[in-house]
């Protein structure tokens, strides 16, 4: 009997080693340890044995049972381990394959520049307003101290709108965002602090640096006690935030009929650091915007007393900013809307 038990144990152990998966393992358990299994059938025969025999065989049988159960647990653990490993192996992938495409939208680079610039000024208390693109001559020129037949009109070649003959006022596509200076001041009393982004139009043959349509951002601040120093400070801060704090900024005298004194702001060229290169036209400086103190004639036009109020205004071309930043050498690319161009921003 004891021999039989030892045989059973040897059989079972070798059979256990042959199991390769959990199903076979379960079959093995039923075969050796189950209620109708080999071990049970040996134990059933215990009743017909003598007390001595029963004690000896019983103890041995229990030991074998315990050992086989231990072996079963160990085998189960290693088989589970192996199955998991196999399943991991089976489900592994080529991680270099591309992922599911997610549709990515993009802003136009000009929109992006407008947002960025307006945010800088908004943080300095300027509100963002907009105005009409089709304007009266009055707002675009006359009220800005540029009367009919003024030679400065050459600075803004103009698209005129075909109007009925009984229309006495001249209608045009605004050549700059400056008409909103007048509209704003007509609508409110000081303090005024606003920026005006928008499209402007020039009757100008197009080439790599000239477009018949482009975007400008106008700025206007009017109140008591605003000085040329404030103009410099505000625009200096703007230039450093947009172009980096290590940029040098230069202010020189320039002429625009609706400001006095007039200002042109330039930053030092970041390619050559002032030494002169192609980007800056060998001057070391890159012109960014025109500005100046609001002309007293303009203030009088909107019934602001120039003895009480002063202010500054500025206007900058938006396309120039991404052109400088990304090294875009042709302004016409912006409105060509080729996805191969737009996708780069």
């Amino acid at each position: 009997m004891l021999e039989e038990l030892q045989e059973l144990k040897a059989d079972a152990t070798s059979a256990l080693e042959k199991t390769t998966n959990l199903r076979e393992l379960d079959e093995w358990r039923v075969q050796y340890l189950g209620r109708k299994g080999h071990l049970t059938s040996i134990l059933r025969r215990l009743g017909s044995m003598s007390f001595e025999e029963r004690r000896a065989v019983g103890a041995a049988a229990n030991e074998v049972k315990f050992e086989l159960e231990e072996a079963l647990r160990a085998r189960e653990g290693s088989l589970k381990e192996r199955e998991l490993a196999e399943s991991l192996e089976r489900t592994s992938i080529d991680v270099t394959l591309p992922g599911y495409p997610v549709a990515l939208g993009r802003l136009h680079p000009v929109t992006r520049a407008i947002k960025e610039i307006c945010e800088i000024f908004a943080s300095m208390g300027f509100q963002v307003v907009e105005g009409p693109e089709v304007e009266w001559d009055y707002y675009n020129f006359e009220a800005l101290n540029i009367p009919q037949d003024h030679p400065a009109r050459d600075m803004w070649d103009t698209f005129w709108i075909d109007t009925p003959e009984d229309e006495h006022q001249l209608m045009l596509l605004r050549t700059h965002t400056s008409p909103m200076q007048i509209r704003l001041m007509e609508q409110t009393r000081p303090p005024v602090r606003a920026v005006v982004p928008g499209k402007v139009y020039r009757y100008e043959a197009t080439d790599a640096t000239h477009e018949s349509m482009f975007h400008q951002i106008e700025g206007l601040a009017v109140d008591q006690g605003i000085t040329l120093g404030d103009l410099k400070g505000t625009l200096f801060e703007f230039a450093r935030r947009l172009f980096g704090s290590d940029r040098k900024v230069r202010f020189r005298c320039d002429y625009f009929p609706f400001v006095e004194p007039g200002v042109e702001m330039a930053i030092d060229c970041w390619i050559c650091r002032g030494a002169g290169c192609r980007l800056c036209g060998h001057s070391g400086w890159i012109e960014i915007l025109g500005a100046g103190m609001v002309h007293p004639e303009v203030l009088r036009r909107v019934n602001y007393d120039p003895d009480i109020y002063t202010g500054f205004a500025f206007g900058l071309g938006v396309e120039r900013i991404p052109m400088l930043r990304y090294g875009i050498d042709d302004i016409r690319l912006f409105f060509g809307n080729d996805l191969r161009f737009l996708r780069q921003f």
């Binding site: 030679p151 320039d254 996708r343």
Partner: protein, 805 residues
């Protein structure tokens, strides 16, 4: 305006290196574009005199030329046709840099032996010196050229190219620039001393001047010189004119140009015998009067143009160009010289109408001072007497109806501080203004009465003086301060606000933003989606950009087509921009629109497989998403033929696959697929184009941003599916509306639509999942069944729907 530094030095000492001076001028408002140095490359080239010419022993066409260089002589082999004893020529030693006359390349002159005769150097043509393209012979220098002197010392110059702003006609002259340099470098201006003998008869016995329209002619000065000899002007004058970009013509014309470049006053010389009755009448041209101008063009004049006439006919276009008949020619002997002042706007109008811009018109239209006319005519008369011989008549005719008092301005230190933010000492202010030619009379501790010099017509009020101070000290001296003080009340523009939200959402939905031209061609305008009343530009640059767009779609479809040519994947584009409609008497209506197009495959070519092509429902999904974010509930109804949309819009859409977007009864946009014919019209790839358009202002009226929190029900929801059969023509929205009208129904989803076998023709089968939930308790099956029964009853009653068996 080109300024010769040699010439400028006559009026001012230049103490700074030119590069530094150029920087100062640029910073103070007169931008120096470039400095061109004439003669920079002329090292080793000096002035020689030809003293002997002998034939070359071995070549017929070559000569042996001996050139005297003062301390030495050189013999060169030369083939130029104009070699003559006594001529002064530029001589280049071995080692000089010259321009090869054939290739235009610079080369270094090497020792050479030509046909067995050694040549010590080379006599040069203008082309070889890089002066001009002339290579017909040697450059012949004036007889007075000093032998042995380096050519650069004699002919060299540095020319500043200035960008003069329109307010500064005074800077279109060397004396004007001298005043600028004087103020910037603290020097004094030396004006030419003008004196000449007046040996002729009294001028009033010879000519008369009458100004008919004093508003258009503020002053007219005339002088008279007889017995002149017309010929080339002296070399120094020719050189200066050439350096400033003017072609020398003859001594008389050159003198008028020279004085214009010197003083800034345009002058004109008439051949006096051609001036009928010696009479000058400044008058408006008569209707249809003709004049042949100096450029040889026959021009028809009109009454809004000012003419200089003799007793009968116009002889010049005032301030713009002289007439051909009174032009100074070689045989002219008597000159009537004009120095006048014309109203700027009138000159500008005339030159614009005739498309005739001249050096004179540019100066007049910018408003030069009438006080300039007299000093300039005296200077020119002096030069004619000196350089062309002849006798000047006694006196000058000076008709000056437009005389005015000098402009005076009271300037205070506090005004300077108020605008510039700096304290400037009275002494410094006076110094600066005086150096610019202003008269200063200190009238108080901090107050000065400033008299504006006549040539500074641009300075008329206090701020103008303050700019003079700021630009002269330099803007760098103004401190940098930050704005302080009150902030204006912030006013929000809700349309702009909504537009920017939509912009971000569209990017989030995977669309690429584009910006296209507001101006489009008539052809493109008419292709599709044209609304009423497009505005036309009166002076379009080209037919491509003639009309203001009335829809963003034509440009979007154009850009879609052009991108389809190189894009394999599907394309999603949107634009946020304005369309322009004729207004009623006021400015046109500018409407902010959102337009989008989608076309091509939903997903790019990928190992993950295809997902089909964009269609109506992709566009609708985007619109649904936008409206969901904005809290807007919209209805979609087929674009009815009797709808508000113009036929051009309806004809651009697929009649069975397009809808109006309706919110609370208002049409706020359209949604759909393009009419198949548009593929050809826009040269689009043959695939579905889905699109939508939303009028932002109309949408704004329905946006409800106020959201109220609803508690999430604690009780479970239960879903049941319905399979309905009903007529194909019944829109799903009606089915959903009915189901959703029941209180316990919280959601319905259509998850299948079937038409075909097993369904009667004209019918469709809909599979709908209905979700029921109560906020107060867990629904029992019986409760749900009761609601479902009621739902079915209404669907059957109102839509004829039956349960699919």
């Amino acid at each position: 305006m080109k300024v010769s530094s040699n010439w400028l030095r006559e009026y001012i000492d230049i103490t700074l290196p030119l590069k530094d001076l150029a920087h100062r001028l640029t910073m103070s408002g007169t931008e120096v574009d470039s400095i061109e140095v004439i003669g920079e490359a002329w090292k080793g080239i000096s002035i020689g005199e030809i003293v002997a010419v002998e034939p070359h022993p071995n070549a017929d066409r070559l000569k042996l030329v001996t050139i005297d260089l003062g301390k030495e002589q050189a013999t060169v082999v030369c083939g130029a046709p104009n070699v003559r004893i006594g001529e002064k020529v530029p001589f280049a030693r071995v080692g000089s840099q010259l321009v090869d006359s054939r290739t235009g390349q610079t080369f270094e002159l090497r020792p050479a032996t030509i046909r067995d005769v050694a040549s010590d150097g080379m006599a040069c043509s203008e082309k070889e010196l890089g002066i001009s393209e002339s290579h017909e012979g040697l450059m012949i220098l004036p007889p007075a050229a000093p032998v042995g002197v380096p050519l650069a010392d004699y002919l060299g110059d540095a020319v500043l190219d200035l960008e003069v702003t329109p307010n500064r006609p005074d800077c279109l002259s060397h004396i004007g620039i001298a005043w600028e340099v004087a103020a910037l470098t603290k020097r004094h201006v030396r004006l030419p001393a003008v004196q000449y003998p007046e040996e002729g008869p009294d001028i009033n016995s010879l000519i008369s001047v009458e100004i008919e329209d004093p508003a258009l002619c503020r002053r007219y000065c005339a002088s008279f010189i007889e017995g002149i000899q017309v010929g080339p002007s002296p070399a120094w004058m020719q050189q200066r004119l050439a350096a400033c970009g003017m072609r020398p013509i003859n001594n008389i014309v050159d003198i008028t140009n020279y004085v214009m470049l010197e003083y800034g006053q345009p002058l004109h010389a008439f051949d006096f015998p051609q001036v009928g009755d010696g009479k000058i009448v400044v008058r408006r041209a008569a209707h249809g009067e003709k004049l042949t101008t100096l450029d040889g063009v026959d021009r028809t004049l009109a009454p809004d143009m000012l003419a200089i006439a003799d007793s009968r006919i116009p002889i010049a276009l005032a301030g713009v160009m002289g007439g051909a008949d009174t032009e100074i020619i070689d045989i002219s002997r008597t000159v009537l010289l004009e120095s006048a002042n014309f109203q700027p706007a009138s000159i500008r109008r005339t030159s614009t109408i005739l498309k005739l811009r001249s050096e004179a018109s540019v100066r007049f239209e910018r408003g030069i001072s009438p006080d300039l006319a007299l000093p300039a005519i005296r200077r020119a008369t002096q030069l004619i007497v000196e350089l062309a011989g002849g006798k000047a008549a006694r006196g000058i005719v000076d008709v000056y109806p437009g005389q005015s008092e000098p402009c005076t301005i009271l300037l205070t230190c506090s005004a300077v501080r108020g605008l510039l933010g700096i304290d400037m000492k009275m002494e410094q202010m006076v110094d600066i203004l005086t150096s610019l030619g202003f008269g200063c009379e200190v009238t108080g501790v901090a107050e000065v009465k400033v008299t504006v010099p006549y040539w500074r017509m641009d300075v008329r009020q206090r701020v103008d003086l303050i700019e003079e101070l700021a630009r002269t000290v330099g803007y760098d001296f103004i401190p940098t301060t930050m704005l302080s003080g009150r902030l204006p009340g912030q006013v929000l523009n809700p349309v702009v606000n909504l537009r920017e939200r939509l912009r971000d959402m569209m990017v989030g939905c995977g669309f690429q933003e584009i910006i296209s031209y507001s101006l489009i061609s008539k052809d493109r305008l008419n292709k599709a989606f044209n609304e009423r009343g497009a505005l036309r530009v009166a002076n379009p640059l080209s037919a491509e950009q003639e009309y203001l767009r009335t829809s963003l779609f034509p440009s979007l479809l154009y850009h879609l087509a052009s991108n389809q040519r190189h894009e394999e994947a599907g394309i999603r584009l949107f634009e946020l921009g304005r369309i322009y409609m004729e207004g009623d008497g006021d400015l046109p209506e500018e409407r902010e629109m959102l337009n989008a197009v989608l076309s091509g495959s939903r997903s790019p070519l990928s190992w993950l497989g295809e997902k089909g092509e964009f269609d109506f429902f992709d566009a609708k999904g985007v619109v649904d998403t936008l409206f969901e974010r904005l809290g807007v509930a919209a209805q979609f109804r087929p674009v009815a033929h009797e709808s508000l949309h113009p036929s051009s819009v309806r004809d651009s859409l697929h009649p069975g696959r397009s809808a109006e977007i309706v919110i609370e009864g208002t049409v706020v946009g359209i949604l759909g697929e393009t009419h198949p014919r548009l593929c050809e019209v826009f040269d689009l790839a043959r695939q579905t184009v889905a699109l939508f358009e939303i009028d932002i202002e109309k949408l704004l009226r329905h946006v409800r941003d106020g959201r109220t929190y609803r508690p999430v029900s604690r009780f479970p929801a239960s879903s049941r599916d319905l399979a309905l059969v009903l007529s194909r023509t019944v829109p799903v929205s009606q089915v959903k509306d009915i189901i959703m009208s029941f209180q316990l129904v919280t959601d319905t989803v259509v998850f299948d639509i079937y038409v075909g076998e097993q369904i009667a023709s004209g019918k469709k089968s809909l599979a709908i999942r209905v979700t029921y939930q109560s906020p107060t308790h867990t629904l029992t099956d019986a409760e749900v069944e009761e609601v479902e029964k009621a739902v079915l009853a209404r669907l059957s009653e109102e839509l004829g729907a039956t349960l699919r068996s």
